[in-house]
């Protein structure tokens, strides 16, 4: 999807919230790259004798009951969460594109089978399926990525298929066929090139959602584990302290998580809107 300057200006004028989204996404991406190295304390190590210190000058967001610096862990977390969410989303797209192209371009048995399979995967309870898959395959980051990819794949199969069905009857495809183009060439050069926009726009929405899924899985203990810095597991570590009044180990990672998801959602919504406009 190519954005020219005029479109960008129009987008910012009509939807100023996209700037907020882009800013949040930008900051999170930077933190994902350099977060662990700019953290004031080692995000993976507990400091002896510093358990459950309230927020102050030394520990900006306090420490959790293991004695780990909450601020350092909060800014180191994007590396874990974003890596999982982005890789998972691209996994879903990478699998969804060919399946969606096949399901849309060739009608008949294969298409029907693919769509019914998508139905089934989508009717599974995402969370329980995710938990079961992670536990089955072992609690490694790699496996959380696979889970994110599997549960999101049907969305892209559907999206691409919808695009293909919309495009395949258009005159320019007919023209491409009339000059003797082979299927593989038409799909690659004409259909895919035109169908890819909404997919990329949707990626931002999926990434936000995948971050929530990752954090949720880790919260319940079926994802990333301590000491790896990760927002969901940080919230879980602090959960028992919340009841007794030490709110900071849970509240700060929760805020970071919520802002990040919101950022991706705002950006994604604007991009989806834009992709939709350019299509018409």
């Amino acid at each position: 999807m190519i954005l020219d300057r005029r479109q960008l200006r129009h987008l910012i004028r009509t939807r100023p919230s996209v700037l907020v989204g882009a800013a949040i996404v930008g900051v999170t991406l930077i933190l994902a790259a350099i977060g662990p190295s700019i953290a004031p304390f080692d995000p993976r190590t507990a400091i002896p004798g510093e358990q459950l210190k309230s927020p102050g000058f030394v520990h900006l967001m306090g420490t959790d009951d293991n004695g780990m610096d909450v601020f350092s862990r909060v800014i180191a977390s994007p590396q874990t969460d974003l890596t999982i969410a982005i890789l998972g989303t691209f996994g879903a797209i990478a699998a969804g594109i060919p399946l969606g192209l096949v399901a849309g371009y060739y009608r008949g048995f294969v298409s029907e089978l693919l769509m019914r399979l998508s139905d089934i995967v989508q009717s599974f309870p995402v969370f329980i399926l995710g938990m079961a898959l992670v536990v089955v395959t072992g609690q490694e980051i790699r496996n959380v990525v696979y889970v994110v990819a599997v549960v999101n794949c049907p969305i892209y199969v559907r999206l691409i298929r919808g695009q293909v069905l919309f495009l395949r009857e258009r005159p320019f495809i007919e023209a491409a066929r009339a000059i003797g183009g082979r299927d593989s060439w038409i799909i690659r050069e004409h259909i895919l090139a035109n169908a890819i926009g909404p997919v990329m726009a949707n990626a931002s929405v999926t990434i936000g959602w995948a971050i929530l899924l990752t954090a949720g899985l880790s919260f319940i203990g079926a994802g990333v584990r301590v000491p790896t810095p990760e927002w969901g597991s940080m919230i879980a570590v602090g959960a028992k302290n919340v009841y007794t009044g030490e709110w900071w180990p849970s509240v700060f990672p929760g805020l970071a998580l919520a802002f990040t998801v919101l950022g991706f959602a705002l950006l994604g919504e604007a991009l989806v809107h834009l992709a939709d406009r350019t299509r018409r």
């Binding site: 329980i128 919101l262 959602a265």
Partner: protein, 336 residues
Amino acid sequence: MTAGRYVIRRLVLLVPQVLGVTTIVFFLIRLLPGDPAYMIAGSLATKDVIASVRRQLGLDRPIWDQYIIYLDRVAHGDLGKSWLTSSQVTQDILQRMPATLELITLALILAFCIALPLGMLTALRPGTVIDRLASAYGMLAGAMPDFWWALFLVFILFGKLRVVPAPIGRLDIALVPPPQVTGFYTVDSIIAGDWPVFWSALAHLALPTFTLAFVYAGPILKMARSTMSQALLGNFVQYARASGLPGHVVARYALRNALLPVITMTGITYGYLIGGAVLIEQIFAWGGLGQYAVQAITSSDYMAVSGVVLTTTMFSLLVYLAVDLIYLAVDPRIRY
């Protein structure tokens, strides 16, 4: 095609769907680590005992035989035996299902009651302060992790203010659950005329219900606003306005057209929550299906895992079917 035939066709279509789900669940479960026979027999069991348990479970047969046996059992409502609770999984699930259903049903009714009027209001007055606030809320709520909100609200409302009971279970420990009719404590206690139990059940429901409603009203609100604004741009609304009908009548016309997508959204959320309220259940020690699932998964209780996945999936499929049938009943334009 008549409506009756459409309903039948949809019901028939459920069969391959359920078969597909069952097949996937069966093969997924085979991948679980650990030898089930070994786990049932215990670590002290001799080889002979383990072998006999394997035979008993049918694990010594070829996988296709096991698959057929599994299908046959599921078809008869037998989901196997849990080795954690050592009772029938079907029974365990039936026992826990009402807790989850009571929670998510109330939560979604509440969410719908928040989202629909707010969505209508914002669509009727675009650009006002209330519209902006509601849009911001819709956006924020959809992005919020529900488990974090639950913890946060527990901290404020239980930890600080003590206006809600401790987040443990569905009733005060001192109270006895009402005799089971529907499994919903609130309904059962009314039937039994047991008011202390009713109030306690309601108090325990308050916070988890509110948390879920607060978070999941967001997407419903967004849907309500966008369909309502679209309906208000429709020709029939312009005609109604041009005819000089009062504003509330016009709004009612628009609402009738905007309602269906909102109902769909609510239905889909309902189907999602049956397995998606896991984290909330865990935080409030709710004792429902979600908590059972977590327990089963973390202890590799594979019959229980497959039972829960199967039950929740079927429930979602039925909810989606119900939503489609509501469409059929409500929308006069749809004729199959």
